[in-house]
Amino acid sequence: MQIYLPIAEMSVNLFLLLGLGSTVGFLSGMFGVGGGFLMTPLLIFSGIPPTVAVASQANQLVASSISGVIAHRGQRRIDVPLSLALTVGGILGAAIGLWIFNEFSKRGQIDIIISLCYVTFLGTIGSLMLIESLSEILQSKNKEAQRLKRKKIPLWVQVLPLKMHFKNAQLRISVIPIIGLGAGIGVLTAIMGVGGGFILIPAMIYLLHIPTHIVIGTSLLQILIVAAFVTYTHAITNQSVDILLAFILMIGSVSGAQIGARVGNRLRSEHLRSLLAFLVLITAARLAFDLIATPSEYFSLNIERN
């Protein structure tokens, strides 16, 4: 069944979109990540204009992150002040990201920038995850040794001023690296339409040493606010948020995530992570191929929407 998307101005197969949404939802439920980093490239592969894909994906992110926040709510699992500190950086970063997005959009290079960002981040994260999870599978005994290694906060983080105490996180740390981290993720949300959980979560655990049980809820709250800001700003600057597209994706991903979460509980985490790493690397490779391979069509049209 075809459905006409009013902002993308094209008709797409409804079941294809629902399938895409639930597959990504399934994966995100299984791996505990947002799934935006898979959704946006898949939307682009299926012919949706990249600007519409990014903005609508940000809109979908609002729905999936509030679901997560509600699931993790309660004082013990979300550190609100820490989340807000991340959000301050996030909004700043998102504003910069939106400016970059619009500048490259004007010059017709935004598609390439989006692809390049994906290739860089997915490639790096995917390789790191793959190496880490494989080494863990191969030598699960060394786990304890690795845990010990992670114990210390890097010295350069310790010496920074403007220290704050975060009660739930049981942490006294400068707000500078937190705002900086939030800003970096905010840029990515604006350009790529991703929540950035795949960078934020490891950075919070390994760099800032925030307890794992606090990390997911806290990052979700930050993602929620930044995604809402990005959606709104894309809507007023580019008019590229397709509510209908986002709505279909939400339906698919909400239902897919529940099934995914159950399957995920049955698998071992290092196996899960190596699987996810493969998935991320395949997506990155496909995008990289499109950038490097000689195109079959040298020309492209940009028909302005009125």
């Binding site: 069944m1 075809q2 459905i3 006409y4 009013p6 902002i7 101005e9 094209m10 008709s11 809109n59 979908q60 992110l61 609002v62 729905a63 999936s64 992150s65 509030i66 679901s67 509600i70 699931a71 017709g108 290079q109 598609d111 390439i112 390049l116 809402a228 959606t231 709104y232 700003t233 894309h234 809507a235 007023i236 008019q239 948020v241 509510i243 209908l244 986002a246 709505f247 939400m250 339906i251 909400v254 529940q258 950038l291 490097i292 391979a293 000689t294 195109p295 069509e297 040298y298 020309f299 492209s300 049209l301 940009n302 028909i303 302005e304 009125n306």
Partner: protein
């Protein structure tokens, strides 16, 4: 095929057109020889959520006295269907540091967003190239109403124009169909215009040219129709442009609502 309702609608509108113009025909009969009467199956194509494209049918009738019919032999018809003008930029990919990026581009501020040329024979069989050119019947001509931004040589501009036409043909937005007009009898013809879902919204005008067997243009007329969005599609696309702030807020609020409901359902499981 054309639906039953469509046929009835067309017949009715043709009868209406015939009745209303018969007086005119009677008055101008001796002077003009041929009269061209056309009617279109609907004057508005509505885009709704299940819109995958539509077919517009144009019926035409040539009224002529017997002597001029004999003189003229068989008639030929060419229909030029023009869509609303759009702003189009065309990019050429170039390799920079191993990566294919959009390199040189050219901007055309007023390009036809749709152009269909339908005829009952190939254009060259109907008339001469000079005549076609005179009436603007070809894919190249009249697509670009203004010269584009001149920062390239004429040859480069021509290159871009050729590729723009090629890409628009690939999207089925520019098309030429020498079997697009069918004659039901010597004097009655019809044509179907395929409007795909990527056809731009706006006003479409069909210019109908009647040629005699000698290749002379003897009559012309035109019909218009609109492609418009309706219902939720219209509401959303208009809202996104005219009420940006409200649209942005609504999209965030809707997402919050759906996520909330999703979380509630999740808890019950």
């Amino acid at each position: 095929m054309i639906g039953h309702a469509t046929v009835v609608a067309i017949c009715l509108s043709i009868i209406r057109a015939l009745v209303s113009s018969s007086v005119l025909i009677f008055l101008t009969y001796a002077a003009r020889g041929e009269e061209l009467i056309t009617a279109i199956s609907s004057d508005t194509v509505w885009i709704t959520s299940n819109f995958t494209g539509a077919e517009i049918v144009l019926f035409g009738s040539i009224a002529s006295d017997k002597s001029s019919l004999k003189k003229a032999g068989n008639y030929n018809v060419i229909i030029v269907l023009c869509g609303p003008r759009k702003k189009i930029r065309i990019w050429r990919k170039e390799r920079v540091a191993g990566i294919w990026v959009n390199g040189t581009s050219m901007y055309f501020p007023e390009v036809k967003g749709y152009l269909g040329i339908f005829s009952n024979k190939t254009l060259q069989e109907i008339t001469s190239i000079a005549t076609l050119k005179h009436y603007g019947i070809n894919l190249r001509q009249d697509i670009f109403s203004h010269p584009s931004s001149v920062h390239e040589t004429i040859e480069a501009e021509d290159d871009f124009k050729t590729d723009l036409i090629r890409l628009m043909q690939k999207k089925n937005l520019y098309l030429e169909n020498p079997e697009g007009v069918q004659f039901l009898s010597d004097t009655v013809f019809f044509s179907r215009f395929p409007m795909l879902s990527n056809a731009p919204t706006g006003t479409y005008t069909a210019h109908i040219f009647l040629f005699n067997s000698a290749g002379k243009m003897i009559q012309k007329t035109q019909n218009s129709f609109q492609i418009r969005k309706r219902g939720i599609e219209e509401l959303l696309s208009r809202g996104a442009k005219q009420r940006k702030e409200i649209y942005g807020l609504l999209s965030v609020l809707a997402a919050l609502g759906i996520g909330w409901v999703g979380a509630l359902i999740f808890r019950y499981h």
